[in-house]
């Protein structure tokens, strides 16, 4: 496993996209923290940008990387190596390099300017989101053979999680506004890792006071240690389930 992982990481680093991504995150993070005199507000602005960019880059880079390494995968499959090892090395290679990129690019500035619970939670959520979208990308890529279609699906998935899902939730809220949906909303947020991360970090900031009754219900759940624990567990499930499904698919894939 380590041997193949070594080659995957070396290959990703040679790609330079990850380095450019790190530099980009660093630039944005420092720019935001220096422009805002209130670090709390800075964290909020950074949160919105990160929740937008991190899933996008993770899902698209991983999809393209998977298709570009089809030669490598083909070569490895004909060697005395378990398919499981190949797949998990590919996943871990992406997860480690993109995770480190996020930590260096956004994590370090956050630690410098905002080393409190909200900041720490944001770093954890960012790293988890990175890995979640890598797992989702690999799942969609292993199912679709065609590269163009695979990248299209990756973009659609990102669009769904960052825009369409919220639209659907809003629609639902307006349709059923006569009913008390606050508690249901807590459950619904589990179906979108981006929303879950957003709520998780937002509730550590003072702005949650502005969110009305729903905010109060959210605070009751996400504000507690148990709530944070459960949310993080759900995020981890968002990694484990796609990886498990893609592994099962990859074991029977014809190359």
């Amino acid at each position: 496993m380590q041997k193949i992982l070594k080659y995957v990481i070396a290959d990703i680093l040679r790609n330079r996209i990850v380095i450019a991504y790190t530099a980009f995150l660093l630039l944005i993070s420092f720019a935001i923290f220096n422009l805002e005199d209130n670090p709390d507000k800075g964290l909020l602005s950074l949160l919105n940008i990160i929740l937008f960019i991190v899933p996008l880059i993770s899902i698209i880079f991983s999809t393209i990387y998977f298709y570009n390494s089809s030669e490598f995968i083909e070569l490895m499959v004909s060697q005395p190596i378990k398919r499981k090892t190949i797949w998990l090395s590919l996943f871990s290679g992406l997860a480690v390099s993109m995770g480190v990129a996020f930590f260096v690019g956004a994590g370090i500035p956050i630690l410098i300017y905002q080393a409190n619970t909200a900041g720490l939670l944001m770093i954890v959520a960012g790293v988890l989101l990175t890995i979640i979208f890598i797992a989702i990308a690999l799942l969609s890529a292993v199912i679709t053979r065609d590269k163009a279609k695979g990248i299209g699906i990756a973009i659609l998935l990102w669009l769904y999680f960052s825009v369409i899902f919220d639209g659907l939730v809003l629609f639902l809220l307006f349709q059923f506004e006569d009913y008390p949906l606050e508690k249901v909303m807590v459950g619904i947020s589990a179906f979108n890792p981006i929303d879950l991360s957003r709520i998780l970090v937002l509730l550590q900031l003072d702005v949650s006071a502005l969110m009305g009754y729903t905010g109060a219900v959210f605070k009751d759940f996400f504000g507690t240690v148990a709530g944070i624990g459960i949310s993080l567990l759900v995020l981890v499930l968002w990694i484990v389930v796609p990886v498990f499904l893609s592994l099962r698919r990859f074991k029977h894939k014809d190359l």
Partner: protein, 235 residues
Amino acid sequence: MIIATKVSKQFGKLKVLDNVSVNCTKGECIALIGPNGSGKTTFIKSILGMVVPDSGFITFNGNNITHDWTYRQHIGYMPQIGRYPENMTIGQVIDMMKDIRKGSTGAFDTDLIEAFNLDKLMQKRMRTLSGGTRQKVSASLAFLFSPDVLILDEPTAGLDPVSSEILKEKIITEKKKGKLILITSHILSELDDLVTQIIFMNEGKLQFHKSIDIVKTDTGEEKLSRAIASIMSKY
């Protein structure tokens, strides 16, 4: 050594392999022959575990290959179209393979690397290579670990006459060591002095698996190419 039992594989509606049963024993040099799209490469890929058959099973030295991946350390595979990580140099690819398969064999068989003069090209990136040089790399990798079984898919396609002669010599020396060699080729004249058995496939079905002498007496032809041509015209 390799026994395939009723292997079937379907890609969509197309039946690529239809109830193929073959028994390959040690020391033989077997030619897989058949028209384009007759399932030769798919059959080879299912032996390697790259394609998973829909039904039937393949055993290697008595072990079912679906549950055992270690058998692949006994196989050297030269693909029809060698696909390698484009950003790596020849040297890096070879080192990587050595690193990954380390322990399967002690010494490396670098005869072909030297014979093909690949040591001078070690710094070249895979994406810059011509088709023929790529084939040379594939061949060198297949022989590098002196495996018991060699599976060569169109080995001489794209090689210049000198190199294909070098490769043929190498195949003959390996054959003399008592290894099982599976080879597909459309250039039948090349196979003449190599093969001992013939597997003929057509439209995913195994037509026959005979020793070369029987094929020659059956058809009454002296040359393999003529014998196969007369068989092919019948199907």
